[in-house]
Symmetry: C2
Subunit: 405 residues, 2 copies
């Protein structure tokens, strides 16, 4: 017998038939003798409609009202799934965030979980009842409904699994696991049986949108074993676990890519102490997330500063740089949105040299120019022209021996 | 300065434009220096969709899950209206039933209000903030969401007005007041400036579906002054008040009709003590609401028993009578669904004789046969053939001097 949290995303509960299908899956785990708690998202499309209404009434709407409106989507699904479970003779009841309670801070619209009181749910589970928890939501100070931000249901599920000391947190989604790279780019992509938290984190943050980044961070911190699997097919998915659990660790686990980047170059910036702060301070204050940064070697007292930002932040970035033109000492800004970031990820590279070299050589052999490089302990990322994305991913997938047999 | 509860029904908040229109009306009351609390229904159509989903998953669904699903409709509207008010620079916040809290009993799906804690709302109003309350819902024992049954938002509004000691409870709807009869039947129908609680109750229960019966009962018990008015036009509506407030009381205030009746006659029932109980006991146990009852004079030891039930209950009524055939001593059941109940209502008839006589004479003059008669202190009702409904209503409207000049 195991204690399992099962989480179903929006496409898995998109209509009544799919909700019935989810009920069948839950019943199967219950019948196998497991203690089960379920976390659900809103039926797909519902959240967008609710968000659209709030924005139409006032683009600068109050976030706590937004939360109260948008959180209803998950509340509906949780009640409907409880009814569908009853129809299969499975004892179940829905739980809204405030009923658990799942406490968050007061940052409405993007609240962080502070505490999950698991006692009532554990008692329900021990009595043979399946709690069906509305994901994505909690209760903020002042007794107001809060939401965790887009994709927050994954985080709800992991936090719940931690609070309930669950053996596993199964995230059911519309893909059947985590792949060595995007299967739409190469048919040779392989599904991974296991992946380390750190790797998943790097993959999630560079565009493999299987799990929300925050949920992986939380899983890593709380050591929650997460499984990503399909809600439409019956087969094991990918386990996201501590790297110690992975016996045969490949050097490189996967190749990720992101087309949501834009490159910004500031030409002829005075090469003096404090110039980086004068650029990145105001950007940070404007909530622009700067990713890769390179500074060229100084020539004649000036330097070129290149960095990447999310493409959605590009206009804001240009406005901030324009406003701070005098402090920066340069207004010669060159932007390029036609770039892609390609990343090679693997905890194995901690103990292996030459991973970056292989990457550079592989791209060079395909005549792909590298514009920016950044590295971390378990990742090497390069910025290239967007048109080379697929070519680069396929070549690297082969070069690191990831191709399916 | 007055303290006012404003309630807006589903058609008044049917889309974003109408919600904006509601916000303008609320702002007008606030700008006039009033303390205002608002109660809203779900956007029209939403509740039906949510109910439909529950029924599709399981016709015998758990009522507490049903409540949790269906109550989201009002939660959405309350958040959206708060946002619309902010856009007009009116301070406002939404309140779900559990946040107030508005406590109910545990009869999920048709809960009764037990207590409304008005302190938090009064404090908010005193600080200049408009509470926007999700109608139709409360919190039941065990921290579960409950709903008050169809039309319950009117009851929410009246209960809130009582708890807040409001000067008035304005019910905004798609009609502009209470009429002497249905304006679709005669263009001579007049809007009443005032109507007594007792009259409104009789009119509501016989088919003038302006206010939910329970809300009128509650208003009468708590002496809440209710105004029914249009959310689309700017003009005074009808005040529902204590009869002492109505100086020039007409003998008859209105003519109501209901086509939702069916007549049931049990022929040749043994004329002995206990026979009525043997018929109406089982019907009551089956939740069939029996309205008018007449028993003919006994002939040869048997009697005919005639009564009316809601047409929707007719099939169930026949089944119950069939099951209890032996105890009743008759299986000769004649049903007639083609009947209408016409009622003449007025608190003035307490002190005036001849009201019923006028009714019978008027119908006789039009050759309309009266099938069943029942009377109360302030009402005379007759059952007639459904095809005569309009003819009877128009004739009575004229006979009692209700026609507009």
């Amino acid at each position: 017998m195991a204690r399992i949290v099962m989480k179903f995303g929006g496409t898995s509960v998109a209509d009544l038939d799919r909700i019935r299908n989810v009920a069948v899956r839950v019943k199967r785990e219950v019948d196998a003798g497991n203690e089960v708690a379920v976390v659900v998202s809103a039926m797909s499309g519902v959240t967008n409609q609710l968000v659209g209404w709030c924005q139409a009434l006032s683009p600068l709407h109050d976030q706590s009202e937004y939360d109260s409106v948008v959180a209803t989507g998950e509340q509906v699904t949780s009640g409907l799934l409880a009814i569908a479970l009853h129809a299969l003779d499975v004892r179940a009841r829905s739980w809204a965030g405030w009923q658990i309670p799942l406490r968050t801070d007061a940052a409405h619209g993007r609240a962080r979980i502070e505490d999950v009181e698991g006692e009532a749910l554990l008692a329900a589970m021990a009595s043979g009842e399946v709690p069906v928890v509305a994901g994505f939501q909690g209760i903020a100070p002042g007794n107001r409904i809060s939401t965790l931000g887009r994709g927050g249901s994954d985080t709800s599920a992991v936090a719940l699994a931690a609070a309930l000391q669950a053996d596993r947190c199964d995230i059911y989604t519309d893909v059947d696991g985590v792949y060595t790279t995007d299967p739409r780019i190469t048919s040779k992509a392989r599904k991974l049986d296991k992946i380390a938290y750190e790797e998943m984190l790097e993959l999630a943050s560079v565009g493999a949108k299987v799990l929300q980044t925050r949920s992986v961070e939380l899983a890593m911190k709380k050591r929650v074993r997460v499984q990503v699997l399909s809600s439409f097919e019956d087969k094991p998915g990918t386990l996201v676990v501590d790297e110690d659990e992975i016996v045969e660790q490949a050097i490189v686990s996967g190749i990720a890519y992101s087309r949501d980047e834009a490159k910004v170059t500031l030409r002829h910036v005075p090469d003096r102490p404090g110039v980086a702060a004068s650029i990145f301070g105001p950007l940070s204050a404007a909530s622009v997330n700067v990713d890769m940064i390179v500074q060229n070697v100084s020539a004649e007292g000036t330097t070129d500063m290149t960095f990447t930002v999310g493409r959605a932040d590009l206009a804001r970035t240009q406005a901030v740089l324009e406003e701070n033109r005098e402090a920066i000492g340069s207004s010669n800004v060159v932007v390029d949105p036609d770039v892609a970031k390609i990343s090679v990820v693997g905890v194995g590279m901690r103990s292996h040299a030459g991973v970056a070299t292989t990457m550079f050589a592989t791209l060079a052999a395909k005549s792909i120019n590298i514009q920016v490089i950044s590295t971390s302990e378990i990742k090497v990322s390069v910025l290239i022209g967007a048109e080379y994305t697929e070519l680069a991913v396929r070549a690297l997938h082969t070069a690191y021996g990831l191709d399916a047999a």
